[in-house]
Symmetry: C2
DNA sequence: TGTACTGTAATAAATAGAATTACAGAATGA
DNA sequence: TCATTCTGTAATTCTATTTATTACAGTACA
């Protein structure tokens, strides 16, 4: 997870959480994050697919939360953006003729699962409201 | 941490843990991981700087563990390779004129610290020996 | 019916990651 | 002593990933 999708999504959701239902445009949001509006729309599209955001097309359109910030767990956001494994995967195929190479991916996966579990238990105990209220 | 440094370092250390003090060459290790030997030497150099590995130059040279595998915590390996923050950082500077933009990096940092703490408590309870013994 | 939006695809630019090349220097042992 | 086999490291090239940009169809509003 080297890319900025988690912080970007959290930033978007934090902005939306502070508006009480008012729609924010992708341009406005992009201005706060300082990234390209198209990337904002892409992230919003993803958050919408995960049920956290609603958006409205056309003039005076924009995005808003699909449910109260108290009901959005940070773990949901994590799941919505998570693509690569937490501690990195080698793209290479380790040598199947080596007893370590042959099995390392299996054992790494187990390890990652365990670690990610610990992380998720943390994120499940924090809501978007908790985060947004810090500002 | 999108790159493969954690799994590569763990792979190297696992191989070394299974040799009882015998030296392994970067070429041999690279063959097991299936990456370039220069990258192996770079990682070994880093692990050496962190006191986990010793190496010997010249003919019949190679690397070996600097201390028993029972004394190497997975958290040490994590610290040795960790560069980027766990859940990704935006390279962009958020808008300082926006109340959210102005403070988000601060709050993200706090959040990351807390999450990383949970992860580290897990990794502190696993040794290289625990991992290597699975093979 | 013009304006201001979203949604999305396609492309280009920038950045990061990994491989490769190159070579100096160290240890060995014939 | 000196060829051989290693490490250490810098420099460069190659590749993959990420982000920005361009373009435009479609929607809603006033």
């Amino acid at each position: 997870m080297n890319n900025a999708r988690f912080p970007i999504s959290l930033h978007i959701l934090t902005l939306l959480a502070r508006e009480n239902g008012a729609l924010l445009s992708s341009d406005y949001i992009a201005g706060s994050i300082n990234i390209n509006p198209v990337l904002v729309r892409k992230e919003i599209s993803n958050l919408r697919n995960h049920g956290m955001v609603e958006s409205k097309e056309g003039k005076n359109g924009g995005a808003t939360l699909a449910k109260p910030a108290e009901g959005i767990l940070l773990s949901e956001i994590y799941h919505a953006v998570q693509q690569t494994s937490l501690l990195g995967n080698s793209r290479n195929h380790p040598n199947p003729d080596c007893p370590v190479g042959k099995n390392i991916n299996l054992h790494l996966e187990d390890l990652y699962k365990e670690i990610e579990g610990a992380l998720l238990r943390k994120l499940e105990n924090m809501t978007l409201a908790d985060f947004a209220n810090k500002f």
